[in-house]
């Protein structure tokens, strides 16, 4: 399987503000339509098209709601 970047969204930490969805340049994030354990409708990755740009990470106000996996980074 090809090693591609993808966002890791912690369902329970997401407060459903939508900043990541609006900011994603590839428009690959969307609202899940489901309510998490804390009562927020959390964001979800569509599963395809993430480029690992981290824009969702930086727009998210929650430290641990959005993380991004990127295979090619040298900065680890």
């Amino acid at each position: 399987m090809e090693d591609k970047p993808y966002p890791i969204i912690s369902e329970d930490e997401c407060k459903g503000c939508g900043r990541c969805i609006a900011a994603c340049p590839k428009k690959v994030l969307r609202s899940s339509g489901s309510v998490n354990n804390r009562g927020y409708i959390y964001a979800k990755y569509s599963g395809e098209g993430c480029t690992g740009c981290f824009i969702c990470y930086y727009n998210c106000p929650e430290p641990y709601a959005v993380e991004v996996y990127r295979p090619d980074s040298e900065a680890d």
Partner: protein, 470 residues
């Protein structure tokens, strides 16, 4: 690699409840983004172990839940003042303060402004959402003209409440700040610029190069009554006309300022008086004595206290001298408190003097009842004294002004009281130390020394003639 938050605690265990991986901030709050940017920059600069973070009052009060470094919470508006203090105590450590616009712009403005003007060595992050968020969206100094808040329901009226406070622009008028920039976290492009500015300010602080200030425009969707995405968009539109983004100043390439060395002077050079080289000695057997000298301003009350204090110093006693006077240079009431002790003096204030000298009636009325049992009240005999003295206190009318007049120095009533106290044995010093201190106090007008000595002797003689020695 996995891009994730750094510089913050893995679990926010100081926070109440079970959601210890989530902030207390509302959905879409700019504070969360700023928290991540500061944490990341601290981690990248490897400065967490050394840093002290000073938190504000407001929504960000709980920033100590998140930043993985040292922390102090300041009272409302005082983060800059507290950061100033810490930066003086820990001059080599990075100090970071974080304040909102209600906190910094209103009650704390002078603290922040003076810190900026002094160039105090800390990084200050100023989060501006143009209102008081935590308390329910009231008008702040930064609120825009016409902006509706819960306390300006029809919009901010600039005639009644002034104009939005542009803190970057105000600080830009000051000499000392090293770095001033205004950024925003309303969208990706702005967040990336904010990240740079925040890291720059922290780097300046890591290198201890001086005062670095970053204002961060940060939307508050809750109080804007809008969903976070729309609020962020509207926020840019509304705010940046009044608060344009950009760098105002960057002097970080210059070396940090160093204080100019100031030549030290001796006490004598500075004040034309005083004595040096006298060691104060602990003497538990010495009974502490409290003197209250009082009268009109201009009667030499404070000088009288200083002479007694100087005599005490020359004998190696601990001594405190504390003046109290009205706004008038002449004519108002003045008093001073002198405590002489054989050990360190706690408070220089006196509630129960052993000796009260009252050179006018208001002072006699005011202080007579406070004199300790067994104490002495020495007062100008020409004033009304039908006030009733406390039991167990010896009240002695003394013709200080007559004695001063008779010796040709009408203004030396204070010296007459000094002589009377010496004659009565109220001053536990050698007479030479008293007269030396008197001469020293007149060193700027040496022609007055001789006449004052005459007054001093005449007062002593009055005491011995009347047998008032106690």
């Amino acid at each position: 690699m996995i891009k994730r938050s750094t510089g913050l605690y893995e679990n926010f265990t100081r926070k109440e409840g079970t959601a210890t991986r989530a902030t207390h901030y509302c959905a879409g709050c700019g504070h969360g983004i700023i928290t991540k940017l500061i944490g990341e920059a601290m981690a990248e600069l490897d400065m967490q172990n050394d840093s002290v973070f000073v938190g504000p009052v407001g929504c960000a009060t709980f920033c100590y839940y998140y930043f993985d470094c040292g922390h102090i919470s300041a009272p409302h508006g005082r983060a800059s003042a507290v950061a100033t203090g810490i930066s003086r105590v820990l001059p080599d450590k990075p100090i970071i303060a974080y304040q909102g616009d209600g906190d910094l712009g209103a009650i704390g403005f002078n603290n922040a402004f003076q810190a900026a003007n002094r160039g105090d060595n800390f990084a200050l992050f100023f989060v501006n959402n143009a209102l008081y968020a935590m308390t329910g969206g009231q008008m702040a100094p930064t609120t825009l003209p016409g902006q509706r808040t819960t306390t300006t329901p029809f919009g901010r009226d600039i005639v009644k409440t002034g104009y939005p406070l542009k803190v970057c622009e105000v600080f830009e008028t000051l000499e000392a700040p090293v770095f001033i920039e205004r950024v925003s976290v309303a969208d990706t492009k702005r967040i990336m610029q904010a990240k740079k500015a925040i890291k720059k300010a922290l780097k300046i602080q890591k290198e201890k190069k001086g005062f670095a200030f970053v204002e961060i425009l940060s939307p508050c969707p809750n109080n804007m009554r809008d969903d976070p995405v729309k609020a962020a968009e509207a926020f840019t539109e509304i705010m940046e006309k009044t608060y344009p983004l950009g760098n105002f100043r960057d002097r970080s390439e210059k070396p940090a300022p160093t204080p100019e060395s100031v030549p030290r002077r001796t006490e004598r050079e500075l004040t034309g008086g005083g004595r040096e080289g006298i060691t104060t000695k602990n003497d538990p057997s010495f009974r502490e004595r409290k003197f209250k000298f009082s009268g009109f301003g201009g009667q030499g009350i404070l000088s009288l206290g200083l002479v007694v204090a100087e005599a005490a110093v020359s004998e190696g006693r601990y001594v405190s001298w504390m003046p109290s006077y009205g706004p008038e240079q002449r004519g108002g009431s003045a008093s001073c408190s002198v405590i002489v002790g054989g050990k360190e003096i706690g408070s220089p204030t006196i509630d129960d003097p052993d000796v009260l000298v009252a050179m006018n009636q208001p002072s006699l009325e005011r202080f007579a009842s406070s004199v300790k049992e067994g104490g002495v009240i020495l007062f100008e005999s020409s004033i009304r004294s039908d006030i009733g003295f406390p039991a167990g206190v010896k009240a002695i009318p003394f013709p200080a002004s007559s004695i001063a007049n008779e010796n040709g120095v009408p203004k030396a009533g204070n010296t007459a009281f000094l002589g009377a106290m010496a004659g009565m044995g109220l001053l536990p010093f050698k007479e030479k130390d008293i007269t030396d201190a008197l001469a020293e106090s007149l060193s700027a007008r040496p022609q007055l020394i001789e006449p004052n000595m005459k007054v001093f002797e005449a007062a002593k003689k009055w005491v011995s003639d009347k047998e008032h020695s106690i």
